[in-house]
Amino acid sequence: MAGFLLRRLVNYVVLALVATFLAFTLASATFDPIGVLQQRNPPPPAASIEAKKRDLHLDQPIPQRFVTWMSGVVQGDFGRTVADRPITDELGRRIGVSLRLFLLGITFGIVFGVLLGVVSAIRQYKFSDYFATLFSFILLSMPVLVLGPLLKLGAQGLNDAIGSNVLIFVGEATPGFQGNWFESLVDRLQHLILPTLAIALGQIAFYSRYQRSSMLDVLGSDFLRTAQAKGLTRRKALFKHGLRTALIPMATLFAFGFGLLVVGGTFTEKIFTWYGMGDWLVVGIGSQDANITATVTLFVAVCVLFSGWLADVLYAALDPRIRVN
């Protein structure tokens, strides 16, 4: 089993490198930071443009630029932005902002998605099943860029009804907030609820559909009947034997789901004005900055691959056949 997981890990590291290389190459080939500089009014002197070109290594071929950048990354230096600020300074804070959102979103998404799927499978064609189906159909048709503003609208209505700002939908914390750790925590929570919902609702809908169909397959199986025949209660049979089997095909979905989450996260950050990695990607492309873009891609790739690898671990944990081979 350790061999299997190690092989997958190596495979993922190679994929992440290729993905980052591709993003870096594409970005370097299409971006024109000098063009942006030249459009300034008054135009900067030719000498400073030349200096900028040298600073950005634009005189070198793209593969060589990538090697230069990558060798920096290995040592923990992600290069400098077009505006000549070190990327590494900002990276940690932005990763913190995004990961907080992603981890909460995916945890809620998986837990409630799986629960909802299981419940609607067990109560197939009952009212709750139809309700869950309708709920996920609507949410799956509703991208974050619609859901986010709608949540804001709902939160505003709620705030007005209560008469105080319970749910805050701008930023990740009140700027210049003063108070003890508990008040600060409450403040952060108030900011966190809506963006987390924006991400988690879509995930819940996504996972619940798959979980429902995989649970339905298991419900009709012989081993579940056997488990009940040998004296297990239905609940115990369902959760010890049924759910575990039904989760196996879900494990491979988690990697897919994470890709979805990262893209959704970009919208969430923009809508709720969080300055995380998704926001940075938009900033990076806006300022035609290959280093920022490649850094964000690397982050996305590492996240997706880590979740893919985690899915493999889960797969191995759930399915004994993998461990034997």
């Binding site: 064609y125 159909f137 799956l140 860029l145 709608l150 609208l153 893209v263 492309i285 996305v300 997706v304």
Partner: protein
């Protein structure tokens, strides 16, 4: 309406052979053809029928609606700035007095055309590449599998966003091509898998031994036998293409001004959702309803075309259902 159902008919006549050899045997009296059966099953599905009506209604509305309105998108009403919906402007006006109905229709037009084109192109590519990869195997096959893997790590959203500075200011056709270029891979992989099994079927072998060239076998025997899958996929792809387009346009990475799409409108007015909700709610509502309708039709087609479909035999406990993605 006729377009999709006629395609279903075509699938019925050619696809019957793959379903089961018994069905394909010529029957003496006027038996029910598979096309009719599919039609009846589809019509029985209320949600899918509603979805179909909504889709046709939206295409009609997008192209006929502006002709009936007395305002055009480039007119400004200096007597109405930021007015909520009322008799004269049924969707209200924005801050320079543009009629939101005319603008929304224009955005809807662009989004719907892009969705349709991208779906047609990407499904065609998927059929050709997937069938060729599965039929010939070898290098092309390896490359396809690898590209699909890579796309999981490097979401197409990211790639197109990175390339967006390059097609900024150019025709929206480039965006159609870019979206299609990144949407076919996962379908192609499914097509590849189906080709692998079809390749071993008697009728394909017979054609091969009769000396048919591979190109003809793929075009005449393999692709028509996957018509069901391709129709369903093309339908679902319209929805995902519209979502991808709006997502990119939201950040200004997709449709560029002077063109308008639902995505650019949502991007522009998302900020105003809490203050001037009608600016945001109309384009967002059209987007969600359209995607929802597409998903319902896709689901209905799947149930109608799939012989092991659940809705037809819903009494049976053991069901096999694919989740709507």
């Amino acid at each position: 309406m006729t377009v999709i159902l006629n395609e279903g008919d075509a699938a019925g006549t050619t696809g019957a052979a793959s379903g089961s050899p018994v069905d394909a045997a010529p029957e003496p009296e006027k038996a029910m053809t598979r096309g009719r059966l599919v039609l009846i099953r589809f019509m029985r599905n209320k949600l899918a029928l509603v979805g179909l009506v909504v889709i046709i209604g939206m295409y009609l509305m997008a192209f006929v609606g502006p002709l009936l309105s007395k305002w055009t998108y480039d007119q400004q009403d200096y007597a109405a700035f930021l007015e909520p919906p009322y008799a004269d402007h049924i969707f209200g006006t924005d801050k320079i007095g543009t009629d939101m109905f005319a603008l929304t229709m224009r955005g809807l037009q662009k989004s719907l055309i892009i969705g349709l084109l991208v779906a047609l192109i990407s499904t065609t590519i998927a059929a050709v590449v997937g069938a060729a990869a599965g039929y010939f195997l070898g290098v092309a096959d390896k490359a396809l599998m690898w590209v699909v893997d890579l796309l999981l790590v490097l979401p197409s959203f990211l790639i197109i966003a990175i390339l967006s500075p390059w097609f900024r200011g150019k025709s929206w056709w480039l965006l159609v091509i870019m979206l299609a270029a990144f949407q076919w891979m996962i379908t192609a992989r499914i097509v590849r898998g189906m080709t692998l099994t079809l390749k071993e079927r008697e009728f394909v072998k017979a054609a091969k031994f009769m000396g048919q060239p591979a190109r003809k076998i793929i075009a005449k025997h393999i692709v028509p036998n996957m018509a069901s899958l391709l129709i369903i996929d093309a339908t679902i792809n319209v929805g995902s293409a519209v979502l991808a387009e709006t997502g990119l346009s939201f950040f200004g990475f997709g449709v560029q001004s002077p063109d308008v799409s639902l995505g650019t409108m949502i991007g522009l007015y998302a900020e105003s959702a809490t203050t001037f909700p009608w600016l945001f709610l109309f384009p967002a509502g059209f987007l969600v309803v359209f995607v929802l309708a597409v998903n319902w039709v896709g689901d209905g087609l799947r149930d109608a075309l799939d012989p092991t479909s659940t809705r037809v035999r819903r009494k049976e406990k053991k069901t096999k259902e694919k989740a709507a993605a």
